[in-house]
């Protein structure tokens, strides 16, 4: 079970059970929908963007523990950040979960998002972890068509 505990860390299980910012966001001026056809995960991200800063953010949807916890932790991490800061966080997160950063990858700058470091041992679950982030990017870029991980 040890590698499973690496994947399903306590903070992930907690955010899966009690996701933060898990609601529709009234007054959002950016929104996008993401879909993972492989497992049916669906997420909608709402953003209130003001002066290039994510003033508020929330999400709705259904999915596995990894995608739900990822969306929850993402919203908590990017709230108050500028677009560029959120983008930088996404790149660091992406590097960590895909293992591109190598074994020596320093997740220090990622804060609680470091809980997803175990995902790199489960390549087919990378899409679950990154779906909310791709959806957030689509929202920030004002894209209309739903995001798909395929």
């Amino acid at each position: 079970m040890s590698d499973l505990r690496d994947l399903y860390q306590e903070v992930i299980l907690d955010h899966n059970k009690a996701p933060r910012n898990f609601h529709r966001l009234e007054g959002a001026n950016r929104t996008a929908e993401g879909h993972n056809p492989l497992c049916g995960d669906q997420v909608r991200v709402y953003v209130l963007l003001a002066d290039d800063r994510i003033g508020n953010i929330a999400f709705q949807g259904s999915g596995c523990a990894i995608s739900k916890a990822s969306a929850s932790l993402m919203t908590a991490s990017v709230k108050g950040k500028t677009r560029a800061e959120a983008e930088a966080l996404f790149h660091a997160f992406h590097k960590m979960v895909t293992g591109e950063g190598g074994a020596a990858f320093d997740a220090g700058g990622l804060g609680k998002l470091a809980a997803f470091s175990g995902v790199r041992e489960f390549p087919i679950r990378v899409k679950c972890a990154t779906l909310p982030w791709h959806t957030l990017r689509a929202a920030l870029e004002g894209r209309q068509e739903p995001v798909s991980t395929e």
């Binding site: 590698d3 299980l13 999915g63 596995c64 523990a65 990894i66």
Partner: protein, 423 residues
């Protein structure tokens, strides 16, 4: 059954019904000795694809080692041998389905291709705007989308027979939907997502009483139940090789000879013609009219070996063994708190779709995988079925006759680990 057996005071615990030596059968499947994540492989994803017995693997190897040549045109020794092997395989598939003649068997890539062939070559020229095609609410996408396409092309309308909460076809609704505009019925024989066996005999009877032809999607039924196309009297029957212990990339379409003969070709090319000039091409006879281009020769031959292997064991015995294992697995899963089975039809075969309260199917799949247990999670290419039961996805364990009660015990134990991890 002897009287001694009936009066025996201490029942003997056995792993399989009498006369079915599952351990011996497992020896036929070399892949079952593979370790997955350091655990013995428990392969319960048979509805996605089945494993291959050694005889099929050997047959493919032998074909490429000693028989490989193009077929139906060579003048040389090897070509004759390859042609004979390919046509023998067609005859084996005809026997497997109890077709009247081998020429009623068209080799295709898959069930999907077979259905597309019938939709385009049989249905499309006959459908008028306002005509109706009837399918069920538990079809695989491969028996939905080809009909949506042909409806779009012709202006015909797709009608869907509903299913009840157990996942059974509502026969009265089917009967009601069969009307003067119904021109075709395409129905699943065994649901890949629910395991339901549909009342195919009655389905065909009711359609025929109104002069409507029927295609049955046998992708899940052909490996699990005896199929007799003449007794069913269906007009078309489709199945895939790889779910029936044969190779991928090959499948078969059965069609009544009179219907196949009246149909235009599906694809044009070599092998499907008698003569070609730029003014006029004469098409070949059936089944070759539908087999344009060099076919999947080794696949066809491998499929022949697979259906002979399965028939050698006997579909009745396979169905009985798998039925026993299904009952055992149903009890084992039902005993796990929070598990809900999706698909509880009275007539059912070895497919167990389930959800675990509070845990997404995808997470169940990952945890089981680490225990060496292969199941499928997701919508199983049957999204309307998921919508019908109000779930985004299910976990699905699907059985084959090489699975054992010990493997079901391993599944149940792993499910307890899932619950433990997710608290």
């Amino acid at each position: 059954m002897t009287s001694a057996g009936r009066t025996s005071a201490t029942p003997i615990r056995r792993d399989s019904p009498p006369g079915f030596d599952v351990e011996k059968i497992r020896e036929d499947f070399p892949i079952l000795r593979v370790m997955a994540h350091g655990k013995p492989l428990v392969y319960l994803d048979n509805a996605a694809t089945s494993q291959k017995p050694q005889v099929v693997i050997d047959r493919l190897r032998e074909y490429y080692r000693a028989e490989n040549a193009n077929i139906h045109r060579g003048i040389h020794y090897l070509s004759e041998r390859a042609t004979e092997a390919y046509e023998d395989a067609r005859a084996a598939v005809a026997r497997f389905l109890n077709a009247a003649e081998p020429r009623e068997i068209v080799f295709v890539r898959s069930t999907t291709e077979a259905i597309n062939l019938v939709a385009q070559s049989y249905a499309r020229p006959r459908l008028q705007p306002g005509d109706e095609v009837v399918i069920s609410a538990m079809e695989h996408h491969s028996n939905i989308v080809p009909w949506q396409i042909v409806c779009e092309q012709t202006g015909a309308i797709l009608r869907v027979v509903p299913i009840n909460d157990a996942g059974e076809l509502v026969l009265a609704e089917y009967e009601r939907l069969l009307g003067p505009r119904t021109k075709f019925v395409a129905m699943v024989h065994v649901s890949n997502a629910l395991g339901t066996v549909t009342p195919v005999r009655r389905i065909v009877e009711l359609a025929h009483s109104r002069g409507v032809p029927v295609l049955l999607d046998g992708a899940q039924a052909a490996p699990r139940l005896p199929v007799d196309v003449r007794a069913l009297d269906c007009d078309f029957y489709a199945f895939s090789g790889h779910k029936a212990y044969g190779p991928t990339g090959i499948g078969a379409l059965y069609g009544k000879a009179s219907l196949l003969e009246a149909m235009p070709p599906y694809q044009g090319g070599g092998d499907m013609i008698l003569s070609v000039t730029f003014e006029k091409t004469l098409y070949n006879v059936i089944p070759f009219k539908f087999e344009a281009g060099t076919p999947h020769i080794s696949g066809g031959i491998g499929l022949g070996a697979a259906v002979d292997y399965v028939s050698g064991i006997g579909l009745e015995r396979i169905a009985a063994y798998e039925g026993d294992l299904l009952a055992y697995a149903t009890d084992a899963l039902a005993a796990i708190p929070g598990v809900r089975l999706i698909g509880t039809a009275k007539e059912k075969v070895g497919v167990l779709s389930f959800v675990l309260e509070g845990v997404h199917a995808h997470d169940v799949g990952t945890i089981l995988d680490r225990e060496g247990i292969a199941i499928r999670t997701g919508h199983h290419c049957a999204m309307p079925v998921m919508q019908r039961f109000g779930v985004p996805a299910t976990a699905r364990a699907s059985l084959a006759f090489y699975n054992t009660r010990a493997e079901i015990d391993a599944l149940a134990a792993a499910m307890h680990k899932v619950r433990e991890l997710f608290g």
